[in-house]
Amino acid sequence: MKKNHEKNSPTFQIILSFLSLYIAIMLALFPTEIVNDIWVQWSLITVLFLIVFMFQFYVLNEKVKSEREYNKKLEKVVKEQEESAKLLIRRDTELTQANIRLKELDKTKSEFVSVAAHQLRTPLVGVKWGLDSVLDNESDHLTDKQKKILENIKKSNDIMIRLVADLLKSESMEIGAQKMRRDQVDVKNLVEDAVSYLVGRAKEKNINISVENISLPDIFIDPERIREVFQNLLENSINYTPEGGEVLVGFERNEDSVTIKITDTGIGIPEDRHNEVFSKFFRSDGAIKMETQGTGLGLFVSKGIVEKHNGKIWFESTKGLGTKFYVQLPIEVAK
């Protein structure tokens, strides 16, 4: 803090003002009749002024002292704020650097997952195409038993390929590499697309799939990803419903969302497994007994996709009585 110029110091100003006042009063009182002796007059007034002056000086000095203390505190606060600001800048820089490192790590993980998937797929494709080639070109030289074995190898290989694809999707979901598009979509059409893809499989098991006829508003979603969700849920329903069963797709329109409901008359999920349903690699005991070919990743990935759309997915199920899955999607894109 700068020192005040001597002439502007409070002390000097006080002295000057009182001196001026003193002289003015002296001149005013000089011809007074109250006290005749001029020296007594001068003494009395001087003592009076000295007392007043001392008192004022004390008051002003205290004021100056408290101002100085206040300034010191202010300086301290300013210094602390400067320190805090420096700390905030340092933290911000550290966070930015940490964020950059995390993004690089995500990118590395994403590249690793992509490369790993590629490397895993290459031999699987070799088996797939090799079997295609043998069954195409050499089927005349194969016995029925040999053809059956090769067909079974092909099915197992297809499961492996699907597992790699699901693993890749689940890893991409976890590292946030799955980006969702936002297109304006008629969700009922999307459900019907998914149903048409699976209607053949349903027919093989004599399972009837029906879709509720209802008018719905368009919603902003990634059509490819959400179709995957519907396909996964419908596939599960078909796979875990015995022959002759039913799968119903219904819809519910709320003020700000649309809910798609997929109900089946399948084997249901035991209650003690309900909280595992959306975890990785979940397969209920009933599914394994039915020898279904799921990888256990479909619901994990589906949940990830729905949640990335700010939607919700849940279910109700009773063992032996069937399952109902709900997918709720917002109508407007969250801003």
Binding site: W129, D132, E224
Partner: protein, 145 residues
Amino acid sequence: MTDEEKKLSEDNKTNSNQYSSKQILLVEDDDFLGELLEKKLSNSNLMVSRVKSGGEAFSFLKNNQASLIVLDIVLPQMDGYEILSKLKSDEDIKDIPVIFLSNLGQRYNIEKGESLGAEEFLVKSEVSLDEIVLKIKKVLDKFSL
């Protein structure tokens, strides 16, 4: 196989000679997969030549015509994206349609391929040899119109 593909397969069985003059350039560095593809395409009455890298592909195209290029992505020295970019910047060969055939199948891989001008992006593990032939014939039909 979709209904469309079934129909195309039936049509192609009766019109097998229409593709016999079409030269397919296959860029695939994996010998086993390359041989399987070559055999399948030849058996489908398509003329096919296989190379294993971008350099070999450009050398081939200097001296030969190609009606379509089937291009892998993970290749030695130059990847499929780079090869396609160079193809598209060469006036003499930029109009040859390209189908990517790769085991990379993430959305960003597919979008990148399409943005560079590929006609189709096929993920090897998701298509059978029959489906590859159908896609090739579909693109050839599109470009012969």
